[in-house]
């Protein structure tokens, strides 16, 4: 074996292998794969042209809707046809690899065959994706476009949109007010739970019991109990609160139990050596918490807090249980009147639109925290 280096390129020759290079690594067999890719692409493309167009033409709908449907079907069919490109490229490469092999150019043949396999696999993968989308389209168009009519009726959505958007203000208000109360209450619970002094032991037990109990009760049951039960019980101030405030209280009671655990684990995740250093300087326990531990914990707590806040926003839809009219409630009214769920679909879309940017923000913060703590030497 010898290794030479000429002008920055390293060449290693292994002469001592019997039988030479060919037996070690013959070019991959690619023709069968390429052929399969072509067949799949043709079938999928054909189906993608034929089936949607047939469904659209069979619709008993307005000519506007039919034109829109036809355009979508044509575009889809065109996109599906693009599958043939990698499939055919794959076959061409495969044939070229064959001829190179017979000509003795083993290395070149191997490279080309690898590319052929890559193209063929890509065609097959995309074909599968197209099949899934095709299935979805046919499902939507089935039964005279029943799904579209029931869930995605533009007429219904435009009729209800304004009322729904106005009603979603309630969701926002509840989420924001509840979140403020939750942050304060949960932090208190966490600090009580973590206090080391023996005098706080009974309070500590109460905090633990609180967290256990209220993480166990389903939110919808608790909301029911709070929003209906408190007015019935006739408690002096609480019973006179409007329903929306009772909802806020119910959400706060439950979510605080979860968020308290988040705070607790964030505080505990601040390394004991930080507390040791602060204590050694002469800080009291409270000062250590305030200047050293909690500031560090807060940085770690933001991503999971944001996740719980997002969950809270979705839970606001439960006010329906107690008769308050939020976006979902408004949508249900329309749904009930017109026997059509498109307005409810619209509410779902609103939630999606609000939530996804926040989840992306959480991902970004988590990635950034990981990068930072990865670099830290302590």
């Amino acid at each position: 074996m010898s290794a030479t280096s000429t002008e920055g390129r390293l060449a290693v020759d292994v002469d001592a292998v019997a039988g030479g290079v060919r037996r070690l690594a013959p070019p991959p067999r690619s023709l069968a794969l390429a052929g399969a890719a072509v067949v799949a692409a043709v079938l999928v493309a054909a189906a993608s042209w034929g089936l949607p167009l047939r469904s659209v033409s069979a619709l008993d709908a307005t000519s506007d809707a039919k034109t829109a449907g036809t355009i979508v079907a044509v575009v889809f069919g065109f996109l599906a046809t693009l599958l043939l490109i990698p499939a055919i490229q794959g076959t061409a490469l495969s044939l070229r690899s064959r001829s190179l092999e017979t000509a003795g150019e083993i290395v070149e043949s191997r490279h080309i065959a690898a590319r052929a396999c890559e193209k063929a696999r890509r065609a097959l993968g995309y074909s599968l994706a197209v099949l899934v989308v095709l299935g979805l389209m046919l499902f939507l168009l089935a039964n005279d476009a029943a799904i579209i009519e029931t869930f995605l009726s533009w007429e219904q959505i435009s009729r209800s949109a304004v009322d729904i958007l106005r009603a979603s203000w309630l969701n926002v208000w509840i989420a924001v007010v509840a979140e403020c109360l939750i942050l304060v209450f949960a932090l208190t619970l966490a600090l009580v739970r973590l206090s080391p002094s023996k005098a706080m032991a009974p309070l500590r037990w109460l905090a633990i019991a609180y967290v256990d109990v209220f993480r166990a009760i389903p939110l919808i049951i608790l909301l029911y109990l709070v929003a209906f039960g408190i007015p019935l019980a006739g408690i002096p101030i609480l019973s006179d609160l409007p329903t929306t405030w009772l909802i806020v209280i119910g959400l706060t009671i439950t979510t605080s139990a979860y968020v308290a655990e988040v705070f607790r684990s964030a505080i505990e995740s601040v390394h004991w050596s930080q507390t040791a250093a602060a204590k050694s300087l002469g800080f009291s326990t409270l000062q250590t918490s305030r200047y050293v531990v909690v500031p560090q914990a807060v940085r770690r707590v933001v991503p999971p807090l944001l996740s719980y806040f997002i969950g809270l926003q979705k839970d606001t839809a439960l006010v329906l249980v107690v008769g308050a009219i939020d976006a979902f409630g408004q949508a249900k009214i329309y749904a009930g009147n017109y026997f059509n769920l498109s307005s409810v679909t619209f509410v779902a879309v609103i939630f999606i639109a609000i939530t996804i940017p926040q989840t992306r923000l959480v991902d970004y913060l988590l990635a950034r925290e990981e990068r930072k703590t990865g670099m830290r030497k302590l």
Binding site: S273, K279, S280, G282, F283, S284, Q287, Y291
Partner: protein
């Protein structure tokens, strides 16, 4: 064990890992509680129940092996926060004191940097400045160079030597035998939680009387640290 430290004296604790050097230091400033015996500072008993450990620790500084700077504060804030929040110094006087200390350790221009922007040796020097900012009567140093790259060890040791020359009372746990020999007034060899041997550096390093001490020094010599 029984140990007395006079004012301005430098005591070095040497011994294998697990022999109790760190524990002894942490007992002195109350981070660890002792079960038997007593610790006295300037005649007052400062161990056992009822002691105001917070007040005690304001008079004793402890510097850790892993520096333990506060990562969410910059260097200036790390050094000034204790004088400001505990000793009640105003921001102006506290920053003046901090700047003087940082100048002494050669890090004045890093006052606005954050700990994770500094090297290990720089962080350790800031940690020493932070402990000194409270003007303690006694400085405890717990293997402060053990986590450092060899090139960075010297800058820290130089600082400690300066402090010793300025009359700071110190108890250091260290593996740096050469340093211990040159800077200590008394060297204690710890083994298994006991002070096996104690005396001036010449006695301990050149003619130790205990067998375990001799064995330890021999392993250290072989490891090239003496």
């Amino acid at each position: 064990m029984s140990l007395s430290v006079a004012p301005h004296e430098v005591v070095c604790l040497i011994g294998a890992s697990g022999s109790g050097k760190s524990t002894l230091l942490r007992c002195i400033n109350g981070l660890e509680t002792i079960e038997e015996g007593e610790i006295r500072l300037e005649g007052d008993v400062v161990s056992g129940p009822g002691v105001d450990y917070t007040a005690l620790r304001r008079q004793i500084g402890l510097v850790f092996q892993s520096y333990n700077l506060f990562p969410h504060m910059n260097v200036m804030r790390n050094v000034t926060i204790a004088p400001m929040k505990i000793a009640g110094l105003g921001r102006g006087p506290a920053e003046e004191r901090a700047r003087a200390l940082l100048r002494r350790v050669g890090l004045e221009e890093k006052a606005n940097a954050y700990p994770d922007q500094l090297s290990g040796g720089q962080q350790q020097r800031v940690a020493i400045a932070r402990a000194m900012a409270m003007e303690p009567k006694l400085l405890l140093l717990d293997e402060i160079t053990s986590a450092l790259d060899p090139e960075l060890v010297n800058e820290v040791l130089r600082m400690v030597r300066d402090l010793a020359e300025q009359g700071m009372t110190m108890v250091l746990a260290t593996h740096e035998m050469g340093f211990a020999r040159s800077v200590a007034n008394t060297v204690c060899f710890l083994d298994n939680g006991q002070i096996l041997e104690m005396g001036p550096p010449e006695q301990i390093f050149e003619s130790p009387s205990e067998k375990r001490t001799r064995e330890f020094l021999r392993t250290v010599l072989e490891a090239g640290q003496l």
